[in-house]
Symmetry: C2
Amino acid sequence: MKFRTTVRPDDPQRIRDIVTSTGFFYDHEIEVAVELCEENLAQGEEKSGYFFVFADDDDGRTLGYACYGEIACTRQRYDLYWMGVHADARGKGIGKQLMKETDKAIAARGGEIVYIETSSREKYLPTREFYIATGCVKEAELKDFYDNGDNKVIYTRRVR
Amino acid sequence: MKFRTTVRPDDPQRIRDIVTSTGFFYDHEIEVAVELCEENLAQGEEKSGYFFVFADDDDGRTLGYACYGEIACTRQRYDLYWMGVHADARGKGIGKQLMKETDKAIAARGGEIVYIETSSREKYLPTREFYIATGCVKEAELKDFYDNGDNKVIYTRRVR
């Protein structure tokens, strides 16, 4: 597995494939995931505020990615906006490696804490377990945030 | 007091005056407040996602404003990004009227819940009291969110 932080023109399409393959996202969420990458390509990472880490296999096929950015009006706090591993490549520890690489990239920019948000729905139990397994702490839960009966769970992790 | 939701070319400068006069914001926060209004003027409110309510006195002088927008990937949840009343016009209930008008504007767009975030610092105690007085509920507090020792307090209010 190789990790890269430069974004390529075909990455938006690959992100669409990855995010769609997981079965975890609504169509409008998939569009947002793709748009963040397009913004990066159009404006550059600093101006867009969207930074990426991609995990490529030895054939150069992108199997997973993470997208993060600094939270405005905070001192060195970052949001993990998105992450996904292709359904074909699950169970190989790619997600955990991606988290480690992302923490390193955030720390290299001077970041201290990363915030990660996810849904309280039953479907996202493995996601929440994954965040706990990667050293996150559950910080808060906002009732009915996404929709009635669908809370936002907020995790944090110190990256250095 | 008259309320308007259309943004005028001189509003970014007036927002700078208002936000600066309050003494509540850091320079980089003032820049963000101004930028949201410039984005609205450059792209239109729908594309920018930043909507405004301004409070003008009878001479047309803008004394306060609120800025809000829909939260991506939620069903009818809104963020109150910013609000401020000029220091010269405090204590006249303009803030409360602005909140009412903003709730109405959000409800007219189909919004259900508005989220409001502020700092836990001592300086912001009047701000936090203001939100409680306008019907907000404290939903969560994120430790060290803005900086070490500076938590984010999250309030919610149902707008309909």
